[in-house]
Symmetry: C2
Subunit: 238 residues, 2 copies
């Protein structure tokens, strides 16, 4: 079929408005019913078009509030350890951090394995969400071996946790193993980032290894349109 289907046409119209600047970054799109009326299409077609653009990373939705034009993604090197806030500042973005919870809790099985703890061991868990330019885009959950991080929960947990690990606890010589996969948000995660359950996201796991032992296990869930990973390699002769 050479001609576009209806929802493709609707998507193309909206995309064109975005690229032309008529719909600026961060601005709200017409409502679903508004699109139906303006373009004379059914609501299913309007929704399919919006879902298509969402999958492309061009728009995002706030749950039951509306659809918005996605800003440019945040450029992020997950293998680096410097402060995310500094990274954002370098990109003319503004990063804010909100501590959601910090407590001593039973380790989930996966975390217990990574931290080489028994199934019933306790760990220290810090959960934070972060916004870029006012939009919640990242939910992070960090698990710490209690014995390696005494008094962790009494420290300022809204700054660079990496800096804490290095400076306050002295773990200077360490390695990070990183996992990256596509993983939509579950209901709890979605609620924290003000989006719908099932919203597309990238899951990033980071294990901090010191002397061959994993002492911190971290999971980051990034809204998929908000991030672009960029890893600068090092010269090898292999």
């Amino acid at each position: 079929m050479n001609s576009l289907t209806t929802y493709h046409s609707v998507a193309a119209r909206l995309q064109s408005s975005i690229h032309s600047g008529e719909l600026a970054s961060g601005s709200k799109l017409p409502s679903e019913r508004g699109i139906c009326e303006q373009l004379g299409v059914s609501r299913v077609n309007a929704r399919d078009a919006l879902h298509f653009l969402e999958a492309q990373g061009l728009i995002y939705r706030l749950n039951r509030i509306g659809w918005f034009v996605s800003p440019a993604p945040f450029i992020y090197d997950p293998t680096q350890t410097h402060s995310l806030r500094d990274e954002a500042r370098a990109q003319n973005r503004q990063l804010e951090t909100e501590l959601i919870s910090a407590n001593r809790t039973a380790a989930p099985a996966v975390i217990a394995r990574k931290l080489e703890l028994s199934a019933t061991a306790a760990v220290l868990n810090v959960v934070r969400r972060r916004s870029v330019d006012g939009r919640w885009v990242l939910l992070e959950s960090c698990y710490y071996r209690e014995e390696d991080f005494p008094d962790l929960l009494s420290k300022d947990l809204t700054g660079s946790l990496n800096a804490l690990v290095r400076d306050a606890y002295g773990f200077k010589k360490r390695r990070q193993d990183i996992g990256i996969s596509s993983k939509p948000l579950n209901q709890t995660q979605a609620q924290q980032l003000q989006v719908r359950e099932g919203s597309p996201a990238l899951k990033l796991s980071r294990d901090l290894i010191v002397d061959g032992r994993c002492i911190v296990a971290e999971t980051e869930h990034w809204l998929h349109d908000a991030i672009e990973m960029s890893i600068r390699g090092r010269t090898t002769a292999g």
Copy 2:
């Protein structure tokens, strides 16, 4: 709302069948209309449930053929350079490669910039698709600076292109810069991997830098459920 919505229930039923082994990895799910009849739900609910599971990476579809249970993802370190085929063998997987095209072509603007070529310069382009255990999961497109790779198109392009770069062309000391983002497949890409346009995928770009110059620009599109990236860091003191 504490109770599940209808399509969530349908998804939960299917997911339970998958986890119990009743629906084995790689096996075909009941058709959409079959699910409607069996569970007494509308086709919209059946489809929503399937889309939900697809987003989770649990199932995949072959275009107009049916839905299938996703096998375990292939574990892939994009920062390493050894042969994908060897990597697959190490994971008891079977990787096949099919050359789609290899030709001298005008460089797309993005590629021209990376390779530091003028807008009208020609490059050598190699396009391949790769399957894991018989399922097309990866579409890769590599662009080479013509002057750095004379006679490239007359070589065997179904093996390790990395090995070619290193051994046949002598570029031993090099660096790779990698980009990772979430990017669904366009119509052409989807067709090559036998899936529907818009299927969720991870886009991986890799620039090969030698003596400060980019000599190869590569793009890989992986079906999102078929891959899990795992990057082993190196010990730093930072």
